[in-house]
């Protein structure tokens, strides 16, 4: 078993979003969170196999090139591709639905106070084959429960649910290769205490950046709780967070939002 050398030379082992060129009869094996993935190039086709580990078994294992031995995983899919030179690109992308995050402990923002909450959300993995522009497969790195964000059961949006420790100090933020950190800038312009019970992060509208240490960040979300109103004004910052040094764009938002304002469907962002 030997390690792959990505096409572009990256030394950081957490930097898994690269191009990989596989030799004949070699497969690429990778563990990202709960996802175990194997890609095997064959004559005129690529076999993508994957399975999910239990929640408590989540881990990271950098992509490795396996010669002659191909792990047997639960699901296998075959992709026909006539002309390709066994080039594979792995790319991270944010969740395809908003993620509703609940702080593990109750969080209250006093009147006229502001803070930045660092929230991490699970990443999806996109697999590109050869010169095909669209990803042939997208897989989540961690299983997330479904949840509903809306005032009633008739109107709202289906989201993913997640818990956060809600760090308010940047130094305490723990980065992971299968999570991206979103700075949520909270401001209470009201005169009463603002209970932050849950925050719906509009992940399909966020961009993904990497800093110089290969940590993944998204652009910041600014939430201003307007006086005497339950709904806050929400704005997505267009630039990478200021903490991400020498930030480079890794993936664009899945859906663009006009004028950096959230769509109507996300009006219940805070409750």
């Amino acid at each position: 078993m030997k390690k792959t050398s990505p096409t572009n030379t990256i030394t950081n082992e957490f930097h898994w979003w690269n191009n990989y060129t596989l030799g004949q009869n070699h497969s690429l094996f990778f563990v990202l969170g709960e996802l175990e993935l194997s890609i095997l190039p064959l004559d005129k086709e690529a076999q993508i196999s994957y399975q999910y580990l239990l929640k408590e078994e989540e881990r990271y294992q950098a992509p490795q090139l396996l010669a002659s031995q191909h792990p047997e995983l639960k699901h296998t899919e075959r992709f026909v591709i006539n002309k390709w030179d066994n080039e594979i690109r792995l790319a991270p992308i944010l969740a395809d639905r908003p993620v509703v995050v609940r702080p593990k402990n109750n969080l209250y923002l006093l009147p006229n106070q502001s803070t930045t909450l660092y929230v991490s959300t699970a990443l999806w993995l996109s697999i590109y084959l050869g010169n095909v522009k669209e990803p042939v497969k997208e897989l989540r790195s961690i299983s997330l429960s479904d949840t509903w964000m809306g005032a009633t059961t008739r109107e709202g949006e289906i989201c993913y649910a997640a818990r956060t420790s809600g760090k308010i100090s940047r130094e305490q933020v723990i980065h992971s290769p299968f999570r991206a950190v979103t700075p949520v800038k909270l401001k209470n312009s009201g005169k009463d205490i603002f209970a932050v019970e849950r925050i719906a992060l509009p992940t399909p509208h966020l961009s993904l950046y990497e800093d110089e240490d290969s940590n993944l960040w998204t652009n910041a979300v600014a939430i201003d709780r307007i006086e005497l109103k339950d709904v806050a004004s929400i704005k997505l910052e267009s630039k990478p967070p200021e903490h991400a040094k020498n930030a480079k764009l890794v993936s664009k938002p899945r859906e663009q939002v006009a004028d950096n304002k959230l769509s109507k469907t996300l009006k219940h962002l805070l409750s």
């Binding site: 997330l144 429960s145 479904d146 949840t147 509903w148 059961t153 008739r154 289906i158 649910a161």
Partner: protein, 283 residues
Amino acid sequence: MEEASMASISLFLWLKAAILVVAGTVIARVVVKMLNGILTTHLTTHALQLSRRVIFYGILTIFIISALRELGFELTLLLGAAGILSVAIGFASQTSASNLISGLFLLGEKPFSVGDIIQVDAVKGEVLSIDFLSVKLRTFDNLFVRIPNETLIKTTFTNISRFPIRRLDLAIGVAYKENIARVRELLIRAADENPICMEEPAPVCIVDQFGASSVDIKFSVWVRQDQFRNLKDSLMEDIKELFDKEGVEIPFPHISVYAGSETGPFPIKMKTDTEQDDKDHKE
């Protein structure tokens, strides 16, 4: 000679009329096909089906009227005849008329659209089309069901896929010896660990009744419309597995036999194997 020329003129007129009808059908189809591409992005499936029909039959009617005029029919006379005919037809086609009017009400009210899942009495299926006389469904065992519009106006039906999420109610019986608080905790844990079970609205656990053999608990969880069956299947399996692991008993129905006396125990006489063998031998 004259008769022959008259016959040829008549044949020519009939041919002309036939060409008009055929041309009308072709033009109507072409127009519908052209508009289909434009309208697909703007209209719902149901509105698209309806517009296609209106456009097709509208164009065809114009060509049929032209064909009839070519054949020398007076339109006013035809309308007059249609007036008299309509009375006769009206009596003969009460059901169709009722269905037609019901269909118009259904179109106006829009209780469901094409692609929705509805249940009418015992029939449950996906709406294929909403027509003037009937609604066509495809059941989950792939049968084609035609329901007259009049039936839908008169009866109660359920649109299952109207809202994006729905509630799944599970009736779970546990033995009387079990601690209800612990059972609640286990049920909530099973829901938490199932990714398709929604976190919000939160699962609810209610003690429903003291049943004949068990304490009956109603466990309600929310799920995405399209995952309803999957959740029912996976959650029930999860609960069974968790109860087995934690030693929570799901009792079988059982009956207590009362001997008839308030204090006296039900008489039971124990016999040893040898006593029984002796008795069998004597017999």
